[in-house]
């Protein structure tokens, strides 16, 4: 691995070492061909940078977090007048989420190396030094928290930082020690609801007697908490051999029969049904009620199938259904769930 230089902070090592990086040699086919080759090299560099950034920041997880923040903000009664503040909050939250992902990859680089699904992450692959990653962690965390504070006030920013702490300081190390890590990690996954609720002045609304929006925020947080059990148990089942090889104590490693993982998935999916329906309370929307019922019932169905079969196909279905049902639920909440 190339030793990290000061340049490595800004540019991944793979890009610095990319083919065609040598300077001062004329192209044999002339300047036009040389320009074309330069453009191709630039494309390759950009693609490499984007791939590394994507693996580092995990934008799909960040998008899910942002969708949760928006839904909580909307259901609490945050309006279009706050769009600029909301946008600032979302960018800030995305930066904090990216920071937690980078910090997680720094802490787990030894175990990531042992699992094919994570072996291509930039720190493990040697395309980003630990120092550079640490600097990126601090910059995105501080920048994100500052932006969240300026846009939505310190309580929302504090909730974002609390999520970061829980994910990085508690959940990540816990994965090596106990299968209870999912129960702790799921709290970090549900906390973005608090960010949206606090940004939309949830406490002030509650003090003014608006109990319905507080109930809904609590329900959304509980939905997010429960939703993660089947979702992560499906992942833990699909990658159980890799987790075992890396020494990570997922439930499917401790109990290879999958019975306990399937049981937790089933219990959480069943409990999620009524809690999802509560999302329709502030709006009184029949459409949201029925959409939430369908999403939760389908999720239950996939959890039952996984509990019955406990194979890769049913785990894959459960994983897909988990994403689809949450997306459907959050979309329905935003479209139909504005409080009366």
């Amino acid at each position: 691995m190339t030793p990290p230089s000061s340049l490595a902070v800004a540019i991944p090592v793979s890009v610095q070492n990319a083919p065609g990086g040598s300077q001062g040699i004329a192209h044999p086919l002339g300047p036009a061909a040389e320009a074309t080759a330069d453009i191709a090299r630039l494309h390759r560099r950009l693609a490499a940078i984007l791939a590394d950034v994507s693996r580092l920041a995990r934008p799909r997880i960040a998008l899910m977090v942002l969708a949760t923040v928006v839904t909580a903000f909307w259901l609490t009664g945050g309006g279009r007048d706050d769009a600029v503040h909301l946008l600032g909050l979302l960018v800030g939250t995305a930066l904090v989420a990216a920071s937690s992902s980078i910090a997680n990859q720094i802490l787990e680089r030894d175990t990531d190396r042992l699992m094919p699904r994570t072996a291509r992450r930039p720190i493990v692959a040697g395309t980003l030094s630990v120092t550079a990653a640490s600097v990126a962690t601090v910059i995105t965390l501080v920048g994100g928290a500052a932006l969240a504070t300026l846009s939505a006030g310190w309580p929302a920013a504090a909730a974002a930082v609390a999520t970061w702490l829980l994910y990085v300081v508690v959940y990540t190390p816990l994965k090596r020690h106990t299968p209870l890590n999912t129960a702790v990690g799921a709290v970090a996954g549900a906390l973005p609801v608090a960010i949206g609720w606090l940004a939309a002045d949830g406490p002030a609304r509650l003090a003014a007697g608006d109990a319905a929006s507080a109930l809904t925020a609590a329900a959304l947080g509980t939905v997010l908490y429960l939703w993660q059990f089947p979702h992560f148990m499906a992942i833990a089942w699909l990658y159980r051999r890799q987790y075992a090889a890396a020494g990570l104590r997922m439930l499917t490693v401790d109990d290879p029969s999958g019975l306990r993982a399937a049981g937790q998935s089933l219990a959480a999916a069943l409990a999620m049904v009524p809690v999802s329906l509560v999302l329709a309370v502030p709006s009184g929307s029949i459409r949201l009620f029925l959409a939430a019922a369908v999403a939760a019932i389908v999720y239950c169905g996939a959890a039952v199938r996984f509990a019955v079969r406990r194979d890769d196909a049913s785990a894959r279905t459960l994983l897909l259904v988990s994403l689809g049902s949450l997306l459907a639920l959050l979309t329905a909440a935003v479209v139909f769930g504005q409080p009366r």
Binding site: A211, A212, L215, L259, R260, A262, G263, Q264, L266, A267, L270, A271, V273, P274, V275, L277, V278, A280, V281, G284, I286, F289, L290, A293, V294, I297, G301, V304, A307, V308, R309, R310
Partner: protein, 321 residues
């Protein structure tokens, strides 16, 4: 793995199923008689600790107070039975599925209690709908626990000798359809006169009718598929469900007439905010409440059918088919 000594799981689960059935009937009556706000505070009853409210005042008091306070007492009883069952299962039960279901039951009973309180404190129709949809789900879980522990008690007699994937699929689909039908029915039971347009009402009625057709079709399929090769318990459940569905269709028609009069077409032209539910005749109230309760019994039966048809059977047993 079998545990030594007497196993109280099955009797306790049966007690839970029975108590829940009575609780759900009381709950359905509370809605029929619009008695939910008969006690305006929660968790207290008119300032008294719920359990210390004077017996004579409750038992010989107004009908709506009898229903609402009785519903609360039954709810507390079901909660206690659930906790006792959870303790026994945690100590004695080896089946991971039963353990998971009992955890779900504890969570659901706590959520349901909170929803009941929120329904009173917020006086909100949507909370009432959520409460109405959670009750049957809890009932289904209780039936599943009883069916799974019964299966082990009676050994091979209730197991499917071979699991027919098609009858299992139909049983599971029936279970889902029966629950969806209860969710759709709850929308009609807890209509908000101020917020629902005639168009939405017609759409909800159409959904409920389509659900009825689906449940009827699936129960007929279940009877046809549960031949001699399927367990006798499954065959019996399929027959019971088919009989219940026939009664339910008749009660549904009756509930329609009681609620909206004799239909002049497939769907009512519009929804007229009719006389208050409390003013219904005892016979009308019995028809409407019976329709709800029977719906829950069909759900419970379909859960028992699905389990006796092989749901949650061990993978080794599944491989036989």
């Amino acid at each position: 793995m079998e545990t030594a000594g007497p196993n109280w799981t099955f009797p306790l689960a049966c007690l839970l199923v029975g108590a829940t059935a009575v609780l759900l009937t009381f709950g359905a009556l509370v809605t029929t008689y619009d008695a939910a706000m008969a006690v305006p505070d929660w968790p207290a009853t008119y300032g008294h600790n719920m359990f210390l409210f004077p017996f004579a005042e409750w038992f010989y008091g107004p009908w709506d107070l009898f229903l609402e306070h009785g519903h609360r007492l039954l709810g507390a009883t079901v909660g206690l039975i659930t906790l006792a069952l959870a303790a026994v299962v945690w100590l004695k039960e080896p089946q991971a599925t039963v353990r998971a279901l009992v955890v779900a039951a504890v969570v659901l009973v706590l959520v349901q209690g909170g929803l009941g309180g929120a329904r009173v404190l917020l006086d909100d129709k949507t909370v009432a709908k959520v409460h109405a949809c959670t009750g049957p789900l809890f009932f289904a879980v209780a039936v599943a626990i009883a069916a799974l522990t019964a299966r082990r008690r009676v050994g091979q007699a209730s197991r499917a000798s071979t699991i027919d994937p098609m009858s299992l699929r139909v049983a599971v689909a029936l279970m889902v359809a029966a629950y969806v039908q209860l969710v759709a029915g709850a929308q009609l039971r807890h209509l908000d006169a101020a917020a629902v347009t005639p168009g939405t009402f017609r759409w909800l009625v159409a959904l409920h009718l389509a659900g009825a057709a689906a449940v009827a079709g699936l129960s007929w399929l279940a009877v046809s598929l549960c031949g001699p090769e399927v367990s006798p318990v499954a065959r019996r459940w399929a027959a019971v469900i088919a009989a219940l569905v026939i009664c339910q269709l008749a009660l549904g028609a009756g509930a329609w007439v009681v609620s909206w009069g004799v239909p002049s077409g497939l769907l009512p032209a519009s929804w007229m905010p009719a006389e208050p539910i409390a003013a219904r005749s005892p016979r009308g109230a019995a028809v409407v409440t019976g329709h709800v309760v029977l719906g829950m019994m069909i759900l419970g039966g379909s859960v028992a059918l699905a389990i006796s048809a092989g749901l949650f059977a061990k993978p080794a047993a599944r491989a036989i088919a």
